[in-house]
């Protein structure tokens, strides 16, 4: 037995190691993206859904440039949030089919890294949907959204990070529940209100190609602050969210 132990020990030294924190997160993110891109289930549904909502909004108000200017920010973020819920729901549902989540949690990847990897993957997928929705929005509503593309993408990226951070945490919490699909948006949207508020204020003018008015830095600060606070909080809570 001692001999056998020595043999296992020798093998261990040659190959076994705890993966780095960031590397673990990266591997998880890569896995999620590869998985999603292979089936495109959530991506397609989310894209189609965003087009449907954009279409429906054209009936909700008179889609002239004037009217659109007043509503652009709120309209876009409602589209992002609703379509995003489909992606976020899939994030942990994907792990459910064969009890994959158990294998991930039992692996030496830390729960925080596992969670962050999923946040990153969701962020990328959500950004794809948001940018595609912007294109559709520009066409449907004659908006010159490309004029301030840099700033607009920056704001959308910050808002989407907030959506991804909160959504992924709650996706992990609700994954084993009956009514999972219904619970997630119900929990995510109220928590997200400050971030949505900031993102809406900033996105409105930018999506119409206009400079954001005076006093909008406070919204940028709010958005960045929300991202920082909730990223830290969610990382701290990830172990409790993932390990029973």
């Amino acid at each position: 037995m001692a001999q056998a132990e020595a043999r296992v020990g020798a093998r261990r030294k040659s190959s076994l190691a705890v993966p780095g924190w960031w590397r673990g997160a990266l591997v998880v993110a890569g896995k999620d993206l590869r998985s999603e891109l292979r089936t495109k289930d959530a991506l397609n549904a989310s894209l189609a859904f965003s087009v449907v909502i954009l279409l429906l909004f054209s009936f909700a108000f008179d889609p002239t440039v004037e009217e659109t200017r007043a509503l652009a920010g709120g309209l876009l973020w409602l589209v992002f949030a609703f379509a995003g819920a489909l992606i976020l729901n899939r994030s942990f549902a994907r792990e459910l089919a064969n009890d994959c989540l158990d294998a991930l949690v039992a692996s030496p990847v830390s729960p925080a890294a596992l969670y962050l990897g999923k946040v990153a993957a969701n962020w990328v997928l959500l950004m794809v949907v948001q940018l595609a929705s912007l294109v559709v929005f520009g066409v449907f509503y004659n908006a010159a959204w490309t004029r301030r593309l840099g700033a607009l993408v920056g704001v959308v990226a910050l808002g989407t990070w907030a959506l991804s951070v909160v959504g992924t945490l709650f996706s992990a919490l609700t994954v084993n529940l009956r009514l999972r699909e219904l619970m997630l948006p119900l929990l995510v949207y109220p928590v997200l209100i400050p971030a949505l508020l900031g993102a809406i204020q900033l996105t409105g003018p930018l999506a119409m190609g206009e400079a954001p008015g005076a006093g909008t830095e406070v919204w940028l600060r709010l958005l960045v602050g929300f991202d920082v606070i909730f990223t830290a909080l969610a990382l701290a809570l990830s172990e409790a969210a993932l390990v029973a």
Binding site: L173, N176, M183, L186, P190, P194, L222, F226, L237, A244
Partner: protein
């Protein structure tokens, strides 16, 4: 013992409430611009304070649950959250009644009103989340995480909505916020019975939660035999 404590809480609350009602209805004068309806503030504002105190207590209990994994903390968290939700509802409804008299409308997207509604929805979500989980340990863990996220979110909600509303034409709540010291005093005096009532309600709910746990355990035991 516990029952006596609850009864004592209720009794003291009733006496205080009777005394406060006497003072506010018969001794304090009507407020100059708002008339008699102004008195609703003595319930409206302390109800909000009680609700926030409850939500903070729930978050502390939730954090304790996550570190100690003792279901008594979870029972405490759910009990005070429900009490907080009741007081938040009282705050909202009394605010709406006041708005109907003063502004002639039931609802306005005033900053505080909106924030309180968001707050109420957050914790209503907490209860719905609990409802969707069967196993007590899992339910406690999931709810605790959510409670902590919610309590961090509440102040951010209040600040952000205030910033948002100050950028828009704002309905006048009370001009400048200068209130007569006698009114201020009554605000705090009336907080005491509400808080005591909250404590009594939470205590009863905690006991119910404990009995529920016992029943569930017995049921499981019966199944395992």
């Amino acid at each position: 013992m516990r029952t006596k404590l609850v009864l004592a809480c209720c009794l003291v609350a009733a006496v205080l409430l009777a005394r406060n009602l006497y003072v506010m209805l018969l001794e304090l004068p009507d407020e100059a611009s708002q008339g008699p309806i102004f008195r609703i503030i003595f319930f409206h504002v302390p109800a909000a304070w009680t609700a926030f105190a409850a939500f903070v207590a729930a978050a502390v209990a939730s954090a304790l649950y996550l570190t100690r994994r003792d279901l008594r903390y979870d029972a405490f968290a759910v009990a005070v959250t429900e009490v907080g939700l009741a007081f938040a509802a009282a705050n909202l409804v009394s605010g709406m009644i006041w708005a109907r008299i003063i502004w002639g409308i039931w609802w306005t997207w005033d900053a505080r009103l909106t924030s309180m509604l968001v707050c109420w929805l957050l914790y209503a979500g907490y209860l719905m989340l609990r409802h969707a989980v069967e196993e007590p340990g899992q339910r406690a863990r999931i709810a605790a995480v959510f409670s902590i996220v919610a309590v961090v979110d509440v102040p951010i909600v209040f600040f952000s909505i205030r910033w948002w509303r100050t950028q828009h034409p704002q309905p006048v709540v009370w001009g400048g916020g200068s209130m007569d010291p006698a009114y201020w005093q009554m605000l705090f005096l009336n907080w005491a019975p509400l808080l005591l009532l909250g404590v009594a309600m939470a205590a009863i709910r905690i006991r119910q939660e404990r009995q529920q746990r016992e029943i569930e355990a017995l049921r499981r035991l019966a199944h395992s035999l």
